[in-house]
Structure formats: C-alpha cells, structure tokens
C-alpha cells in the first residue's frame, strides 16, 4: 500500500429503519471486532466517531480497561488490536487528524445500494489504494447506514456487497470485515 489506510465508524448522521436521521450509541463489540479487523489488515487508525462527550467518555473507559486495566493483561491480543482505535467528535476532526499524520487529505470512500457518478468497483478501488500517494478513509455508518448527504460528498462510492439472493442486511461488523478483505487482503483469488 502506497499511503495510509484509515477506517471511520460514524454514529451520526445515520438512518433508522424508518429513514429518519438519528445518532446511535457506541457498542462494545463495534469497538473490539472492528479494531481487530483494522489491526489485521494494516489499517493505521480506526476512528470511532460520536458527537457526544459522554459517549466518547464511555468508549475511553472501555479502552482503559483493555489498555491498562485487567483486560489488557488477561487478553493481550485485544490490547494490541485496540492500539489502532482512536476517538473523534466528527468527520472534520478525523480528516484533520489524518492530515496531521500524512500531510495530505484522505480520499473518502463509502458503500451504497445506489449507483452514483463516483461509483467504483472493489477491484478498481483496490488498485487505486495500492498505487496512490494519498491516504484513504473508508467510512461506515451504524444503524441503517450513512445518510445520503454523507454518501454524495464521498470521493468514491463502492457498489453494494452483492448477495446470492434477495437478502442483504449484514451487520456493520460483517460489512467492515468483508470490505477490508476485498480492499486490503491477500490476492487469494489469483492462482499465479
């Protein structure tokens, strides 16, 4: 990979099942599962993004338990994974932090069920990430997904993960796992 790869999990603005814009709560498992994916696929930072101070405080407490409390000494794999985790209030703060680290703004990436002018295939984006000098920020939303305004502002929009049938409602943890494997995993499909 030419430049840094970053993940952000946004808890707002996301849709609920009725298509209303909401803010969801931070969950323990989004913190652990996605940190482990990030660490496995060489992601530089995984930003947990929430606008409310008390929610970030809660995340900081959970982190403390695993980083310096009992959890970290009992389960060092988790402690290691959580080193990539970072907290931020909003997307602007995430981008600023990446500019500080990389000296360049990240190209932003989302997935969506619809096709836009910025739509791109997994294979093409994988090549871009490998060849580009710019950092990439792959953005995910909790709840029923990122709102249309966030989607439309992204530099690249990945096609939806296609399913064998009519059902396509993966958890955000599964979606992050699959998308990072496609974008940054080994070329397992290449027999050469």
């Amino acid at each position: 990979m030419a430049a840094g790869l970053y993940i952000a999990l946004l808890h707002t603005p996301v849709y609920n099942k009725r298509g209303e814009t909401i803010t969801t709560s931070i969950t323990n498992l989004d913190l652990h599962d996605i940190s482990r994916v990030a660490r496995t696929y060489g992601v530089k930072r995984y930003f947990l993004v929430h606008p409310q101070g008390n929610q970030l405080e809660l995340a900081r407490d959970m982190l403390g338990y695993w980083q310096s409390g009992f959890g970290g000494s009992y389960n060092s794999d988790r402690k290691e994974a959580l080193k990539v985790l970072d907290l931020a209030e909003d997307l602007d703060e995430v981008k600023d932090r990446i500019v500080q680290l990389e000296g360049a703004s990240p190209q932003t990436v989302v997935t969506d069920a619809r096709i836009f002018s910025q739509s791109i295939s997994y294979l093409d984006l994988r090549s871009k990430i490998q060849d580009s000098a710019a950092p990439f920020l792959i953005m995910f939303g909790t709840g029923w997904g990122l709102t249309r305004e966030v989607i439309e502002k992204a530099d690249h929009i990945l096609y939806p993960l296609e399913s064998a049938g009519d059902y396509n409602h993966l958890s955000v943890r599964s979606a992050v796992s699959i998308i990072m494997d496609r974008l940054a995993g080994e070329a397992w499909w290449d027999p050469s």
Copy 2:
C-alpha cells in the same frame, strides 16, 4: 452452487488462550451477525452447536423473541435472517440433519493456522463447492478455535486468513463473514 452450503458454530471442543479444551457460552451477537451472513450468502442452515440443554434453551428463548415476539415485528430483517438458524447438541446431530435434508453426508471444512494433507486454497474450495453434488459444512469454533482433533478429522482445511502484518486475531464473526464472502460471494475480482 450445486448442493447445499451449511455453517456450524461449535462451542466445544475449543481452546482457551492457554490451549486447554473448554466449552464457551452462546452469545447473542454470534447468533445475529452470523445468521445475517448465512442468509446473505445463500447458506441453507446455520447450526449453533452446544452440548448443554440450558444453553440451547437460552438460544431458543432469544429466537422466540425475534421470531414471534416483539423483536420480530419491530425488526423484520432480523426475523428473516434467523429463519436459517438451527440448534444442535453436537456435530453428529448436525451431520444427521444434513443427511435428512440432502440425502448425502456433507464434506466438512475448517480453517487452521497449520498446513495439513487436506489443506486447500479458497479458490480451489470455491470451485469444488460450485461443481460438487455433495453438500458442504463449513465449521467454526468459538474461543481460541477448534481443537486439533476436530481439525484433523475435517475433509478440507482452508489456509489461514493471511494478514498484512504479524497480527491475526479476528473475531469468529469477522472470520465467518470473510470466509463466506470468499467461498460463496460474487466474483468481484473478475473484471470480465
């Protein structure tokens, strides 16, 4: 896919972090996240396998809430996903159930960090699943993974999911997501 594809999540015999053989508890999220992966990738049944009746009872209660209680009417996507979920006491029961459904024993598949005589690549197993008349059962373990005795008895052993660096400790939910995408997902890497 020529024949049925099945998933089993075994809570025993699995290792703990010290390499001792243990039985883990059923967790709510393994039930939901993996059901949604199974439903998305056309898996016929996802078997949650636990030897203890009270644990299966607990899982049955959770299922009831989503299938006929408040949860199911509130969140129909979860209800739909959980239709693929089934409970079993041990691996023999799972195999018997598949024989009843398919009229043939499944070929069993696991992943392991080591290389064995039955080791196979993701690409080769993907072809086998597509071409074979036999059903396939992809087996996963909780905790620190399935014990060596289970691994060695499997018909096929997938190579470990390779990581960019030195770290490779994905959650079982992430591993199931990635492996099912590789074995049964769209051929996203094929530009033709």
